[in-house]
């Protein structure tokens, strides 16, 4: 069977290079594409969803080349971006029914729209014009629009940016339910907790390249070993020394920390995904997990 997403040496420049040869293959499950602002996440999603043509490289969704057969690829994926793509003058339900008919769902469009409005807790709001919706409601309706068909691959470009914590949780629950039902999801995010909460696999995009790729544990391990930390009563770090955890290394690290006041304590810290993200997405050398 073809992989859900295959990205082969994709490059794209505007005034500056945005993507410099991205390679990534994803079979199934939830992949989080993590990167700082301007890392190229949205450009990559736009290329995969046939909205933007790359300067070079190839990409396939479910085995269908998005450049050679964009219409074929569009039957296999759905996308919900950072900006909502709804018709403000129509009601929520009218939006879904229209998109359903354009997908070719025919008579099923209305039934399907009602089921999704119910699922997204928009059943009563569905009769109102989208212009009256809050940000969270728009995002949920937009997500519903992406779920009208049964997309093999769902792209979510920063699906929770700008949402309040409750709406954010709801979107997370929806993504988990979809993944459990077998939909392959590629989501982009700037936040670690989102990647950690939802993804089986995390790829970090920096300066237009994938600089790390693996599970949260693998990425954490990749940024290096543990540190011996001298900390004050509040847990704030005073000094630290690297260690690989062996007795000899710990003794050496303790010596490196030097003389300490009475109220300071020593702790052994493992790198967190935060450390990995800071190291991988914002600076320091490339690490392959």
């Amino acid at each position: 069977m073809d992989a859900a997403i295959e990205i082969d040496d994709i490059s794209k420049s505007y005034a500056h290079p945005v993507l410099r040869g991205v390679d990534l293959t994803h079979e199934a499950g939830v992949l989080a594409l993590l990167g700082a602002n301007g890392a190229g996440k949205t450009t990559l999603v736009s290329i995969l969803t046939t909205l933007v043509r790359p300067d070079g490289g190839r990409a396939r969704i479910g085995g269908v080349d998005v450049l050679r057969d964009p219409a074929g690829a569009r039957r296999l994926f759905a996308v919900t971006g950072q900006e909502t793509t709804l018709d403000e003058l129509l009601t929520g339900r009218e939006n879904l029914v229209m998109i359903g008919r354009l997908l070719g769902l025919g008579r099923d469009a209305g039934r399907r729209a009602d089921a999704l409005l119910e699922q997204m807790d928009l059943a009563s709001a569905g009769r109102r014009r989208v212009a009256t919706y809050s940000g969270g409601m728009r995002r949920r309706l937009d997500l519903a629009a992406s779920l009208l068909s049964r997309p093999a691959v769902l792209f979510l470009d920063e699906p929770t940016t700008g949402l309040d914590p409750v709406s954010r949780r709801r979107v997370w629950d929806d993504v988990r339910a979809l993944a459990a039902a077998g939909t392959t999801v590629l989501l982009t995010t700037q936040t670690l907790d989102e990647a950690e909460a939802l993804a089986d696999r995390i790829a970090i995009l920096r300066d237009g390249r994938i600089v790390a790729d693996g599970t949260a544990a693998e990425l954490t391990a990749a940024v290096g070993g543990q540190r011996l930390v001298l900390q004050d009563a509040t847990g704030a770090e005073v000094r630290s020394a690297d260690t690989d955890g062996t007795a000899a290394s710990l003794t050496r690290a303790l010596a490196q920390l030097g003389p300490a006041d009475q109220d300071l304590t020593v702790a052994l810290r493992s790198p967190t995904l935060d450390d990995a993200f800071l190291a991988l997405a914002h600076g320091t050398p490339e690490v392959a997990a």
Binding site: T50, V79, T85, L86, R101, G104, G182
Partner: protein
Amino acid sequence: MTALDAPRVRGTGPLRSGTVLIGRSLRHSLRDGEGLVMAVALPVMMLLLFTYVFGGAILDDGYIDFVVPGVILTCAGFGASSVAVAVNRDLHLGAMRRFRTLPIRSWTVLVGHVAASVLRNLLATAIVIAVALALGFRPTAGPGRWALVVILVALWILAITALFAGIGMIAGSPEAASGYGFVLLFLPYLSSAFVPTETMPSWLRPVAEHQPMGPLVDALRALLIGGADVQLLPPILWSLGITAAAGVLVTQVLRRSQDR
């Protein structure tokens, strides 16, 4: 989970997606109450203004018979200009982004706007003609000539709507789109629509007689209130030419916007 019992994407042909999108645009027209009122009220007010206020100064008698074709065409301009805003709104407020990821052809979205506008404007035109008849407009045209009038007006509406769709695509914002459209609305005044061209300075007369609306107004007037010589070809060629040019513009801009 609902994703599992969701129906498969079957896709649609341009005909069916076009129908869905025309329905969408017609719904917009009905929702946009102000736009609808403007599309009908403005031409009616113009008709009253020209008939009762300016008419006496321009022609001694029968000015309403003279001015109706011009009012009909100005009305089409007003009505069609809203397409520029609708198209621009789709491009800049995200709806087009969704349409472009669906298995449909992007241009069917524009077809929806244009077709809905043609229907809306033909309706507005019918209302204007009804008001004109009530005010004393007495056309001499028989059914055949009326059919030609409808064809000429529909072609002109199509042309100017397509042009406004193109303007909507290149304008930077919905506000700008409505601003560009304004220029086109002055075109009827620089023709034989409201005053006989013989009253214009000699250097202006050729412009007024040969700009696209000149031949159109003359043809409509000849068909409606009688005239020995009806020139159908020039207005038809103008309308088709403008439609074709706007079509090329729209296709180019659509293609380029994907290559961003």
